[in-house]
């Protein structure tokens, strides 16, 4: 956190000054570790084993916050008798089909609900379309009424299932698997549990490297289970906080430039699952389900009204027929492989530098070299714009400029100071930026570029009567009269209108399914409440409560802490005076507190839904997790996850360590692209894993930003970290003859890159299952353009993805490291091939 989010870290320092204990768990000692009370070095890729050990500690010592767990989690719910655990099936859950490597999830359901489970075919489609992402704003579908055992004694209740699942994650196993000494591990367990109760809460903070694993979603699930068991969710000072890495990466997920989503986490239609409008709507709202998602039709119709205005009518299903359809995986990595295969004609890069910043840099660049055209919009000349000229493949002879057909347009972009608009930061807060100056020269905003691109395209199609062009011709595309589109008009369109009165909506609860409202992103409705740009509010923090509700605007409904109903006990009283946040005011008959209550304002804690209710009415007065289908925080996920209802330790896709817990080595459902240009290093028990004997991880430095386009171009940042380097322990340096500040090169099946050597005690060898495991670390900021240049760490990484969200495993892999520089020119290819031959990934014929 201190490394990549230094200003956010001020709050950790603030807490530390007030007596909080800070624990940092990381493969290497970082600037965060330096300020922590306790640093716990862990093997990269073993996080579920570590956190599973914490769960086991909590459950076997009954350290859970029992009242909270009973009231607000699904601990008491009974799981189907058909369910079989990894503990019984050697690392697989029940329902696995080795053919599709997907699960039939019926047996994972609650008792009596087996019919509601995902079948393997659906599960496979869900993986292809990363449908887990749809759950960012709500839980996956689940029926409302579930049998329970409030005594938590029934062997089929979630509490007992969980307890059995993690029973083998003992301190000894944690020590063996993660390399964390028992005492250190127990110190963490004791501190975490002792600090989580009525009076105290513990926050779990992760950075999104956690998502970059073949079990990334399950990493985060493990953290969520602990925080639920300890009663830390929905309470001040608690929670699971994702520190995201880009100014509006949250916004670009909410209003997605993502293949599988429409704004507000509505799914992009799938050609089979959502052939008709009704199928699409029902797939979102799940008619028999509890919660606010039941009103999905209002959100969906409002979006279509925003897109197509008057052309969206009840008769034409509000233009649903114009929406393009998914047939499978259309994610960025699939696209790149399709580029290599010649299937993609044109590519836009919008402030993104995949030649350096995406996994498998070589595949990225070879893909771009095989396009018809490429549009690069950036502030600076980046590697993705010059692959045809200066890329590493030009040096190896794989790309010859005179033979590379790709037409490249470099379009200079406006900076954040040269345009107005909102960023959504990592806590879901929208903040409006005022424009300071005009962009220089030809530089333009994305708003300008896409508005005028659309305008030109629409002019060209004006006289078309082809069916395919109706969607473009009917778009509402009017954003003011000046050359630069009016960003406030766009934000108003996002917020939505009552189309009968022309008034801006104040809340998504005002949205209607009959076409009488519009709204481009339902979760953002309210950002223009009362006709005021709420995101532009800047009441000084010093003049308001610590929650600061009048600074910016947070989705949904300006609610700063989600599920904050859980900050009060089931009766609506604060768990303690010290930790009061939102509570039921019986006198006034409403929820009140420091934040906007995440609950219907006047629904009392005693409310119990009548038999057979659905939707919002089915939410009980103590269902704190109102977007979940059953109103409860999930210790066990009966649906919604591709790879299992509970996190289970699997080794990374590349690992020299044999999974000591199960016969199943790696995540069985991980997304793989089995191609000769995307080889994976061998793993244990294959003895050839020894060709790549070391574990490596990559991450950021404080002084640089991602692929370097915004930092390696600036002298003041470049001078602070001027060269690509690799951190190794003194012991590994001795083993491989590496010298401090000397050169080394790092090799995987994909590439070899070079870096200067930094020998440091901040990296230390770990003892894993009786042998020494060395870890090395590299920053990934370097590339060939800029004030300072160097090899790219992402060239080392192959493409293997988490099955739930299709994010690549780039935080752990195996490699070799050798003293000296790598070969250059065509010799580099031969050198890497030598490794592939030794690893058995290729034979002499090149197969």
């Amino acid at each position: 956190m201190a490394e990549a989010h230094p200003v956010g870290f001020q709050w950790v320092i603030e807490a530390k000054k007030r007596g909080a204990k800070i624990i940092h768990i990381d493969p290497r000692f970082t600037r965060t570790s330096a300020l922590a009370h306790t640093f716990v070095p862990v093997r990269a890729g073993a996080d579920i084993a570590f956190l599973g050990g914490v769960i086991n500690y909590i459950l076997s010592n009954e350290k859970d916050f029992r009242e909270y767990v009973l009231a607000y989690t699904n601990a008491s719910m009974l799981v189907s008798e058909d369910f079989q655990d990894t503990e019984e099936l050697d690392g697989l859950f029940s329902g696995f089909d080795p053919e599709t490597r997907a699960y039939d999830q019926s047996s994972w359901q609650y008792a009596g609900q087996q019919d509601h489970g995902q079948e393997e075919g659906e599960s496979h489609v869900d993986r292809e379309t990363a449908s887990g992402l749809e759950q960012e704003s709500h839980g996956p579908p689940i029926p409302a009424d579930v049998p329970r055992d409030p005594t938590l004694q029934d062997p089929r209740c979630v509490y007992q299932v969980l307890k059995r699942h993690y029973a083998r994650y003992t301190p000894e196993v944690v020590e063996q698997l993660c390399g964390v000494p028992r005492e250190k591990f127990l110190e963490v367990c004791e501190a975490w549990t002792a600090n989580s109760n009525r009076e105290r809460t513990t926050a779990l903070v992760y950075s999104v490297g956690w998502t970059q694993h073949s079990v990334g979603v399950q990493y985060i699930r493990t953290g969520a289970i602990i925080q639920l068991l300890l009663g830390n969710m929905g309470r001040p000072g608690g929670g699971v906080m994702a520190l995201r890495g880009h100014a509006s990466i949250q916004g670009s997920t909410d209003i997605p430039t993502l293949f599988n989503l429409l704004p507000g986490y509505l799914p992009m239609p799938h050609f089979q699952q959502h052939e008709t409008f009704d199928q699409w709507i029902d797939a979102i709202r799940h008619p028999e389900q509890k919660g606010f998602w039941a009103d999905a039709k209002a959100y969906a119709v409002s979006l279509l009204k925003s897109y197509w205005g008057d052309a969206a009518t009840e008769e034409n299903d509000y233009g649903y027929g114009w929406l393009p359809r998914l047939t499978g995986d259309h994610g960025t990595y699939q696209q790149v492989l399709d580029m290599i295969d010649g299937k993609v004609k044109g590519y836009f890069l919008l402030g993104q530098n995949p030649a350096v910043g995406s996994a498998h840099g070589r595949a990225q660049r070879l893909g771009m070299a095989n396009l018809d055209w490429l549009v690069v919009r950036d502030l600076f000349m980046i590697e993705s714009a010059t692959f045809w000229k200066n890329g590493p493949e030009v040096a190896t002879g794989e790309i010859v400029p005179e033979q590379c057909k790709t037409e490249v347009f470099f379009m200079p972009a406006a900076s954040h100071a040269e345009k107005e608009g909102t960023f959504t930061q990592t806590q879901r807060m929208l903040q409006w930026r005022e424009k300071a100056v005009d962009p220089p020269g030809d530089a333009r905003s994305e708003l300008w570029f896409f508005y005028h691109l659309g305008r030109r395209i629409r002019e060209r199609l004006r006289d078309s009567d082809r069916a395919r062009d109706a969607a473009v011709k009917n778009l509402t595309w009017d954003y003011g009269s000046s050359d630069e589109p009016d960003a406030e008009l766009v934000l108003k369109e996002i917020n939505g209108y009552d189309l009968r009165t022309g008034d801006l909506l104040g809340s998504y609860t005002q949205m209607k399914p009959d076409g009488s409202t519009s709204g481009g992103c339902w979760i953002y409705t309210g950002v223009y409440a009362d006709g005021v740009n709420q995101a532009a509010r800047r009441k000084p923090g010093s003049e308001q409560s610590y929650v600061a509700p009048e600074w910016g605007w947070v989705w949904p409904a300006n609610r700063r802490t989600l599920y904050n109903r859980a900050s009060a006990d089931p009766d609506g009283k604060p768990w303690s005076e010290r930790k009061k946040y939102v509570w039921w005011d019986a006198g006034k008959g409403e929820w009140t507190g420091d934040d906007v209550p995440d609950f219907e304002k006047t629904k009392p804690p005693s409310y119990r839904p009548p038999e057979g209710s659905t939707g919002v009415a089915a939410i009980s007065g103590d269902d704190a997790f109102i977007m979940q289908g059953d109103g409860k925080g999930w210790l066990y996920a009966p649906s919604g996850l591709i790879d299992g209802p509970m996190p289970t330790h699997y080794e990374p896709a590349e690992s020299g360590v044999r999974n000591p817990l199960y016969g199943q080595q790696a995540n069985p459902t991980r997304k793989v692209y089995d191609r000769t240009d995307n080889l994976t290093n061998p793993s244990a028990p294959d003895s050839r894993a020894a060709v790549f004997p070391y574990v490596f991880s990559t991450s950021r430095l404080t002084e640089h930003h991602t692929a370097g386009g915004m930092s390696r171009q600036l002298p003041y940042l470049s001078e602070l970290q001027p060269e690509m380097f690799v951190e190794v322990s003194p012991q590994l340096a001795a083993e491989r003859g590496l010298t401090h500040l000397g050169w080394a090169h790092i090799v995987t099946a994909r590439a070899a890159i070079e870096a200067r050597v930094m020998i440091t005690d901040r990296l230390r060898p770990l003892r894993i299952e009786g042998r020494t495991v060395h870890q090395i670390w590299m920053p990934y900021h370097w590339g060939g353009e800029g004030v300072v240049t160097g090899d790219s760490a992402n060239d080392l990484i192959g493409i293997t993805l988490d099955p739930n969200v299709l994010i690549q495993e780039s935080k752990v892999g195996t490699c070799d490291i050798r003293a000296g520089r790598r070969p250059s020119g065509p010799g580099l290819l031969a050198y890497v091939r030598g490794y592939r031959l030794r690893a058995g990934l290729e034979d002499e014929s090149g197969k």
Partner: protein, 187 residues
């Protein structure tokens, strides 16, 4: 004449309170004229740092239509006026002379960049989008189920863009049937 004499440090040193000439008497014209350029700015724009997702408040000071300083906004309850090294380098980011200010074009099989007029580039891109779309259009699958799409166009980026920008990007591409739209959130 008298002013000239008073401006002479030795005069001030001999006649003033600073006989050693190390302070008041040694103050130069430059020092006397010093003023913070945040105070002399024409206007201040309230902004947000463009780097990570913490969302630190920034104040952008503008003088003669140039950004002269970017610093933390002390009113922000998130950042309380502070910035990290990257946020602190925002003025360099915006005002750098390394920033590209012209449209550049690399023709197929070309070995160098060429200048291109912005308007021409926009037209060329619009033509290429439509051509790629037409060449790869999929109306429906073998069973007649609608597809309405092209797999011939890809886009990557959005995490450093504004919500308003992402909104119209997604809107336009969706209407065009281009579904291969991705950003850093997948990476």
């Amino acid at each position: 004449m008298r002013t000239w004499i008073e401006g002479w440090p030795v005069y001030r040193q001999l006649t003033g309170t600073d006989p050693l000439g190390r302070g008041a008497a040694a103050k130069s014209d430059g020092s006397r004229a010093l003023e913070s350029r945040t105070e002399t700015a024409d206007r201040v724009a309230k902004s947000v740092c463009p780097y990570c997702a913490v969302g630190c408040g920034q104040r952008i000071f503008v003088k003669d239509e140039k950004v002269v300083q970017i610093e933390g906004d002390p009113d922000s309850p998130i950042s309380r006026g502070r910035l990290c090294p990257k946020g602190s380098a925002s003025k360099s980011l915006v005002t750098s002379d390394r920033r590209q200010q012209h449209v550049l074009y690399r023709r197929p099989y070309g070995t160098e960049w060429e200048r291109l007029d912005l308007d021409t580039a926009m037209d060329m891109i619009a033509d290429r989008v439509l051509a790629a779309r037409d060449a790869t259009w999929e109306e429906s699958d073998a069973d007649g189920r609608p597809l309405n799409r092209t797999l011939g166009i890809s886009s990557l980026g959005g995490a450093t863009l504004d919500n308003e920008e992402n909104y119209i990007i997604k809107k336009l591409f969706t209407a065009l049937g281009a579904i291969q739209i991705e950003n850093q959130a997948r990476i």
